[in-house]
Subunit: 289 residues, 2 copies
């Protein structure tokens, strides 16, 4: 089975519930998780686990957990009190289909589910409690107030203010970077990687996270709604400072490429085959949707 098929199957299995008084909640969770993301984060978790000498399979709950967290953040991001986006990945947003209240709760429940699957007895029968706890801690830390959510708050704070490079970079490092970092680190942690590997993994993750976001901002001004599956020019229309508005498209692409090189170099410390992660970094910085 291909890795991506493995991830899709596992995500589906974890969301298989029905026949209850609150089935609409599970339906709403399935709707957003199944809405066809690129599974960037789970792939990173699995690949780092493999690179550090573990079976993909052991890392599956952690890979799914990070996707659940990512999905919950998208559902909440799209809510009217946040970005108020009606469309996500070319489909109506969760709250358009299920209502704001159920969408809010589906996001909340997806966050809980992330921790549930990482710490279930099934997971602990394959991964030591030490490693599972450390991986779950890493995800909690990087998705919370000093991670992803903190980044979202910086974003809100500077919605109608000019932000300098430091603010925008910190915002990106947290808002998108933190979860990518958690995804990569969890793979290493589950496989019992040493400090040097964890450090290299962090560097790789930080670089591709920032590159990912640079390209995201670039695509927002150079792409079409059809290509992107979501509204374009949203940053310009919202008068938001972005790295593109500070440095221009060309410089941002240049920076993304430099970060990609740095990410690839960080992989030198690993003995195994890093082809996948190298290609992955290159593909991220060259993606057009």
């Amino acid at each position: 089975m291909s890795t991506s098929k493995m991830i899709e199957n596992a995500l589906e299995q974890y969301l298989l519930k029905k026949g209850t008084l609150y089935d609409v909640l599970w339906e709403s969770m399935r709707y957003s998780v199944g809405a066809g993301g690129k599974r960037v984060r789970p792939m990173l978790t699995l690949e780092f686990a493999r690179l550090c000498g573990e079976d993909y399979e052991l890392a599956i709950p952690f890979a799914c957990a990070v996707e659940f967290i990512h999905t919950y953040s998208l559902i909440h991001d799209d809510l009217p009190c946040m970005d108020d986006d009606d469309m996500r990945r070319g489909k109506p947003s969760n709250h358009i289909v299920f209502g704001e209240d159920t969408a809010l709760l589906a996001g909340d429940a997806l966050q809980s589910l992330a921790f549930e699957v990482m710490l279930s007895s099934d997971t602990l029968s394959k991964v030591s409690a030490d490693r599972a706890a450390q991986a779950a801690f890493t995800l909690a830390k990087f998705c919370g107030a000093d991670g992803m959510v903190g980044g979202q708050v910086i974003d809100l704070q500077y919605e109608d203010k000019n932000a300098d490079e430091n603010v925008i970079s910190t915002m990106h490092l947290l808002k998108t970077g933190a979860l990518i970092k958690a995804a990569c680190l969890m793979g290493c942690i589950v496989a019992g990687a040493d400090e040097a590997k964890l450090k290299a993994c962090e560097e790789y993750a930080e670089c591709i996270g920032l590159a990912f976001q640079l390209i995201d901002d670039v695509l927002d001004v150079t792409s079409t709604t059809d290509q992107l599956g979501k509204p374009v020019n949203s940053d310009v229309e919202n008068n938001k400072s972005t790295l593109v508005s500070l440095f221009g498209v060309e410089e941002c692409i240049k920076r993304a490429e430099a970060l990609t090189d740095k990410a690839i170099n960080a992989l030198d410390v690993f003995e195994g085959d890093t082809t996948y992660l190298k290609d992955f970094a290159l593909k991220l910085s060259k993606r057009r949707n």
Copy 2:
């Protein structure tokens, strides 16, 4: 130091962050956690840990975690897309003070923080990873889609429909009961309690959870806004089926008392001093705010 002082101190310590670009987030989290709840759930965690032979101190992170989850649920519950309550515990709701976007994110971050504190290296230096993971799993399970959040969705589903006793009971068991159960169970788990004790603990928790909710519904029709610190008659005004609307005030009080007796009897299996938990059950069913 009194137990409740210990809890307040620990909650405060975990929320001590400042000087960042997103300090308003921590401020918003502190606002709601500090808004003077009764700390029912953390007290239960500590007391069950003590009853099963452990120091209060070991259970502190788990006690705080359940309070963080409870607080996040209140913040989200008060949002305009949910109950749209401007007041909570006699003070303006989080979103009234900080705005809907920050309130939403503060709730999200409190959920992450709950898992972070239970699985931190500091916690794992005192509690084995096995127990910490099992306790955190328990909280994740009972606060998620098949627990608290599921209960909230049932509540939404039956907002303007007549609900029968089964629906209302299931809703309560999940919406309020699940988190109380998690609070009690985590105390036992951290202390390494055996199956018989876990089972008794679950029975106690289920009974006081249901009794708690019965009294809540009763107070909604018999209390004043001043006494309760939140709007009264909200269920009647929203045309909601409650156990009170089905059975009347008197029968509900009778049921709450019977459940309280059952809860107290469940404690027989424990060897230690159960005075506190007995009084606690009695106080809950006799409370008037």
